[in-house]
Amino acid sequence: MSEHDNRSGCPFAFAAAKPSRRGLLTGLAAFGGLTIDGSLSADAAVRPHRPIDAAASGRHRLRFHGRHQAGVVTPQQAHGMVVAFDVLATSRDELQEMFKRLTERIRFLMHGGTPEAIDPKFPPPDSGIVGPVIQPDDLSITASVGASLFDGRFGLAARKPRQLVAMAGFPNDSLQEELCHGDLMLQICASGADTVIHALRDIIKTTPDQLAVRWMQDGFLPVEPLSFGHAPAQPTPRNLLGFKDGTANLRSTDPELMDRHVWVKPGSDEPRWAAGGTYQVVRIIRQFVERWDRTPLQEQEGIIGRDKATGAPLGRSREHDDPAYASDPKGLRIPLDAHIRLANPRTTETASSLLLRRGYNYSRSVTASGQLDMGLLFVCFQADLESGFLAVQRRLNGEPLEEYINPVGGGYFFVLPGVATDAGYLADGLLTPQT
């Protein structure tokens, strides 16, 4: 069985009943980086490890190789985390080294396997938190880059994606510098929270002088482990305001839709290397949930524009019914400033602002005043930042929902195109463009 059958346009592979030869080789390569003597050099001897039989685990292996990275159109796993890093490289060569190592680790982690048993005199190379056999567990690690990577350090300014800038605050934002921006962003998602943390710790441990964590935020969603289309469709998960979130999202299983709204296409006005990538927006949006819970239901529903229990547009009966704004020009049924109406007025002029949302709920702690610090880790992807997120957010500025939310962090990033083959690495097109 081949690792992946792409006829369906499905972005991930089923677990191979037997480990594929290619997967095995990938694993071997991935394990070449860290030798028993603690050498961190890339010239380390290749050490074997056993690839695992993922089918037996009940969870799956997502495909690393492809035109696009995993974690964008991939159905959402139950746990997600975004981690922003400062890149510590001081030259283009060091930057390339970092991306090669990162690629090697992501390949290994998404594939899974058994790390070589280590000499007990040395610190174990693996944290061990998922046990001696690393399961793929639907893991995806999606790498994207921030505008700061294109500053003077690496001479990449001319290759910056056209619209990539540092995120500026919107009127309702209270951005905290220590929760914003970054040279590199990793979005790590899996069915288990432990798998996510395991992957993060592996990457931190194997890139000690290459990457420094700047900030991170983890999140969760009430969804089952990925079913790969075999189980009945999952119900729409709810956010921490109690509303179904994702009802009217773009269908990520429709490749044509994704090509139109999400992926940067070859021949666009973006730099050539960027084709196959996408703009990623990350926003940490705190929700004032105590206050929300003290708000009358009809007001909550008017603010969102949907029925809280069913998720149906107000005045309609089923979740996926059309809100039919044309029949409600005065906003008697769905207020004109309802979140969904502003976010997507569903007119021909606003069709260009469709975007793919892929956020998580988060819960952190309590604030100094003893209120819950929780909210939405908003993530969205679009081929055009300006006509996507920026246009939608501008329409949302001043919406009644703002009274209950406060964005505090995040950033704009560009998801690197996928790695096509074993020979490739993340950012190879950016660092060594073909002429």
Binding site: D37, G38, D86, L88, K121, F122, P208
Partner: protein
């Protein structure tokens, strides 16, 4: 203070008792005797200097000479920070000498908050030597007690070799963030003292490390050099350092790479040299 250093006899006894893994390692247990003896001399020198400097420092505090006491605070501490892995083996003393207000529910107001940082709080946050007399006496008594306890201490090879990693872990945990000397902002003095202490151990072991894993030694040297180069930018006349607040964000980030790489590499040093 004079440390009795019957190197060979004591050294071998200590190696026998304290588990030196053998077999696979290219380093023979006896190879470690000389570097460990040298390290004891270093520790003895630092603890002597600590007692002497603390004497002068506490005298200034008790004399009510705020400016002098402030000037002597950081240069006194460095002797403690250089040998922290040895000194903190006495947890009672480590607590009374070097505890931070964070460890108490009542923070600075807690009566058990003593030692360097309590005096630092008086000198820099309150800008006064008032009521610091008894704290000064206690600090001097504590470091003197430390000196005498170190005299009788056997140093297992694993503790010495592992001490380098311990010092760098200290840096990674609280020195980079500037949480150590929050009232005086003299963190970079401590930072450098931790680096010095770690480098001392690494230098003494260098012939052995080079033999066991030359690449590791090269990387250690490179990363120490990188850290020192950044710290040097902030040095002032007479071995001093600028305020932690002067440390640019860029340099703080740049320090994290070599410091974390040192922590990873030093965590393997015991394994490489075959000591437990």
């Amino acid at each position: 203070m004079k440390l009795s250093l019957s190197v060979s006899a004591a050294g071998f006894a200590l190696l026998g008792a304290c588990g030196v893994a053998s077999a696979a390692s290219v380093i023979a247990p006896a190879d470690l005797v000389a570097p460990i003896a040298d390290y004891k001399i270093y520790v003895a020198g630092e603890v002597d200097a600590l007692v002497k400097a603390t004497h002068d420092f506490t005298e200034a505090v008790k004399a009510g000479d705020l400016a002098k006491a402030q000037a002597l605070y950081a240069p006194t501490r460095v002797h403690y920070e250089r040998i922290e892995p040895v000194a903190d083996q006495f947890s009672d003393l480590d607590k009374s000498i070097d505890v931070r207000a964070d460890d108490f529910a009542a923070k600075e107001a807690d009566p058990n908050f003593t030692g360097f940082h309590r005096i630092e709080y008086g000198l820099y946050a309150k800008k006064s030597t008032d009521a610091l007399g008894p704290l000064a006496d206690k600090l001097l008594a504590d470091v003197t007690e430390l000196q005498s306890r170190i005299q009788g201490l056997t140093l297992p090879p694993g503790k010495v070799v592992g001490g380098a990693a311990e010092l760098v872990e200290e840096i990674a945990k609280t020195k980079i963030s500037g949480e150590e000397d929050r009232y005086s902002r003299t963190d970079l003095w401590d930072f450098k003292a931790n680096v010095d202490g770690a480098r001392q151990i690494v230098s003494l072991l260098q012939p052995l490390t080079s033999k066991a894993n030359a690449k590791l030694q090269t990387r250690l040297d490179d990363n120490f050099t990188k850290v020192e180069a950044i710290l040097t930018k902030y040095s002032t006349a007479g071995d001093g350092f600028e305020s932690y607040d002067a440390l640019s964000k860029k340099d703080r980030t740049a320090l994290r790479g070599p410091v974390t790489a040192l922590a990873e590499d030093l965590s393997k040093l015991r394994g490489v040299l075959g000591v437990k």
